[in-house]
């Protein structure tokens, strides 16, 4: 590749002889003429020595002059060459090598990077560049391969840990034996820690981060999820009354980063000391403070830690020490999600780590305050009331439903949920509450004629309820008029509220309200009673229809299920 540039290299040419020859010619001419003139002008007797002298002088003069010119040429040539070399060196140092490194770091192979680099005219420089390219290319590809392998392995480990955790949770639900449960919880904890390690490696190797949550995760779950991944979770004390939630895509990162901070706090404090976690809402977001009472970090250590978690440091793995991965992981995560992490001495005598979650990652479920009022509003407007309802519909998972029902329970002043859907088993005229248009969702777990399934104990019904509750974000509001007062089915049978003992129901019924009570039932005509049993049958069959979420559900009357549900409610 150097062949075509060879003529351009001044130092490889023969030194140009033109000027010395010209100088020689001129000097020979001049000295010859001068010598001849001197010989001719000299007296006859002196002519011969004069000729010799003049000849010798002319010869010496010519030689000296030619040499001088030649040397001057040489000096000039060397100067040029030096300047050229200096220029080449500068180019090498300032352009070629940085370009080459950038290309190699960008993932180009040594050959392609070399091809893209403008060739240097200096052969030895070119050789240096080539060797450099090969060496760096090799180490880069080695690094990339190792990183990819680690990332892949970490990803698999993550997937394994996640599925193991899911399996373990299944088993925890299946086995009620306390011994087995204790063992399962132990395994669960270990697996969670292994999962965290896999997550850390995945974060450091730049693999895709762990699992993503489909819904915002409330702060309490974030904190518990974080402390569940460290060994000393029993020493962690949570102090949080906030109801904010972290967006699903960032929740895993926040949890992981927090787990690393908690792990640090636990590792660097006495094994019996507690680690306290506080959550504070600020205009810019939310601040999670992890305070331990262990070692006080020196200023230098604080600065080093701050540097380790700063976004700039997080970009490079070079600062990674073999054993301390935590802060680097936190730094990476902070960079990814825009978290701010800082350290300060703690009032407890140890170190406090602060993690600020920016506002755009935070959502505030509106369902915490004043659930009854909200439920009433929802009922009045006849809409879902708030967006979370649709979210629940979109993600019919047990947890949202569970929380949703929890919320509903907060608005527990709605003990009688009479929402019936269009094809329910009961004629609409019999349900004043239904006439208000509740239960338009049609899938209310609570839309239950109380006597329909004869309240089949606690066995299948709750399971069914939790199964369909995801779709059951019905919007039945509370029913203030029924608060504490027994309701009666169209047939005149008293309705028992879920969980209410028969004694309570009966006594309330006797003292509380005018009772159409059992007596009309006894006076029904055969046709009426047949119709009623027909309704009973339809209600029982509705159990099957209920599978598709449209029939009325013969589940026990659930006080909690009529309010709109919110996935984020954790109260």
């Amino acid at each position: 590749m150097t062949a075509h540039t060879a003529p351009a290299r001044p130092w490889t040419e023969r030194p140009p002889l033109r000027r010395p020859l010209l100088a020689l010619l001129v000097s020979v001419t001049v000295t010859g003429a001068a010598g001849l003139w001197a010989v001719w002008a000299a007296p006859e007797s002196f002519r011969q020595p004069m000729a010799y002298g003049a000849g010798a002088t002319a010869l010496v003069l010519c030689l000296v002059l030619t040499m001088a010119v030649h040397q001057r040429e040489k000096v000039r040539r060397y100067r040029r060459r030096t300047a050229y070399l200096a220029d080449q060196s500068r180019k090498l140092a300032e352009e070629v090598v940085p370009d080459l490194l950038a290309r190699l770091r960008g993932g180009a192979s040594a050959d392609s990077a070399l091809a893209a680099t403008p060739p240097l005219e200096n052969e030895s420089y070119q050789r240096v560049v080539e060797q450099l390219a090969r060496a760096i290319g090799q180490s880069e590809s080695r690094r990339a391969a190792a990183l990819a392998a680690s990332a892949n392995a970490a990803g698999r480990m993550q997937a394994l840990a996640t599925s193991m955790l899911a399996d373990l949770r299944d088993m925890e639900h299946r086995h009620s034996d306390e011994e087995v449960l204790a063992d399962l919880l132990h395994l669960d904890h270990r697996t969670a820690q292994a999962g965290r390690l896999a997550d850390s490696i995945a974060v450091l190797t730049g693999a895709r981060s762990g699992r993503r949550w489909a819904k915002p995760i409330v702060m309490e779950s974030i904190l518990r999820g974080a402390m569940g991944r460290i060994a000393g979770y029993q020493r962690v004390r949570l102090h949080s009354t906030t109801g904010i939630a972290v967006a699903g895509h960032a929740a895993e990162g926040v949890m992981h980063g927090l787990a690393e901070l908690l792990d640090n706090a636990c590792n660097f404090s006495p094994p019996t000391a507690e680690v306290h976690v506080y959550v504070e809402e600020v205009p810019a977001g939310a601040i999670i403070t992890v305070e331990d009472s262990g070692l006080v970090m020196s200023d230098v250590a604080l600065r080093r830690a701050e540097k380790a978690v700063s976004p700039e440091a997080a970009a490079d793995l070079a600062g990674l020490s073999g054993t301390r991965l935590g802060l680097a992981v936190v730094g990476r995560l902070a960079r990814k999600h825009g978290l701010t992490v800082s350290f300060r001495p703690s009032a407890r005598g140890g170190t406090g780590a602060l993690m600020m979650i920016p506002q755009d990652l935070i959502s505030r479920p509106q369902d915490r305050e004043d659930p009854p009022a909200r439920a009433a509003t929802a009922g009045a407007t006849g809409t879902g009331g708030f967006s979370a309802t649709s979210a629940t519909h979109a993600t019919p998972a047990p947890a949202p439903s569970r929380r949703g029902r929890r919320t509903a329970a907060a608005g527990g002043e709605a003990p009688w949920t009479d929402g019936t859907d269009g094809e329910g088993a009961w004629p609409a005229e019999s349900w004043p509450a239904a006439a208000t248009g509740r239960g338009r969702g049609g899938a209310e777990p609570a839309a239950t004629p109380d006597h329909a399934p004869a309240a089949p104990a606690a066995g299948p019904a709750p399971t069914r309820a939790s199964a369909d509750a995801g779709a059951g974000a019905g919007s039945g509001p509370d029913d203030p008029d029924t608060l504490g007062i027994p309701r009666y089915s169209p047939g005149g049978l008293p309705k028992r509220r879920r969980g209410q003992t028969l004694a309570a129901a009966h006594s309330a019924g006797q003292s509380g309200s005018p009772t159409p009570a059992p007596s009309p039932a006894r006076t029904l005509s055969p046709a009426e009673s047949a119709a009623r049993f027909g309704a009973f049958r339809r209600a029982v069959q509705g159990q099957d229809r209920g599978q598709d979420g449209s029939g009325s559900r013969p589940a026990p009357d659930r006080s909690a299920s009529s309010s709109p549900s919110h996935p984020e409610d954790d109260a």
Binding site: R406, P462, Q500
Partner: protein, 128 residues
């Protein structure tokens, strides 16, 4: 079908119970009825608050477990916490029934239905 144990919540069960796997008290079985004695207070563990809200009326342990989506053993631990702090009371339905039966002044409906009556109802239904 969505299983109750599906793992889509970051909470691990051991963090819910603080690492315990058995209830301190043996007062609870599946059908023990639980009534809350106070309203939830801010800062309470969300499960505790949910139980308190849920149990304004007597509620069986198994219903609470289904409602919370947690295993019964875990719920028992949570309940025994609440029982220790006096926020709930628990009683067994059978003892209630027995007590009611023993007292003549108690309304008839408070008694547990006689199995023979239930049988007769069943026969009557079948004869329809």
């Amino acid at each position: 079908m969505i299983r109750p144990g599906r793992d889509d919540d970051p909470d691990r069960l051991y963090t819910v119970t603080g690492g315990r796997s058995r209830a301190a008290s043996k007062d609870f079985d599946l059908v023990t009825l639980v009534v809350s004695e106070c309203d939830p207070v801010p800062g309470m563990q969300s499960e505790h608050a949910a139980i308190l809200r849920m149990c304004r009326y007597p509620t069986a342990v198994v219903e609470i477990a289904a409602e919370l989506g947690l295993p019964v053993s875990i719920v028992k631990i949570l309940l025994s916490d609440l029982l220790d702090s006096g926020r709930i009371t628990a009683r067994h339905p059978q003892t209630t029934g027995a007590a009611a039966r023993g007292r003549p002044g108690q309304p008839v409906a408070a008694q547990l239905p006689d199995p023979t009556i239930l049988e007769q109802v069943l026969v009557g239904l079948r004869n329809l």
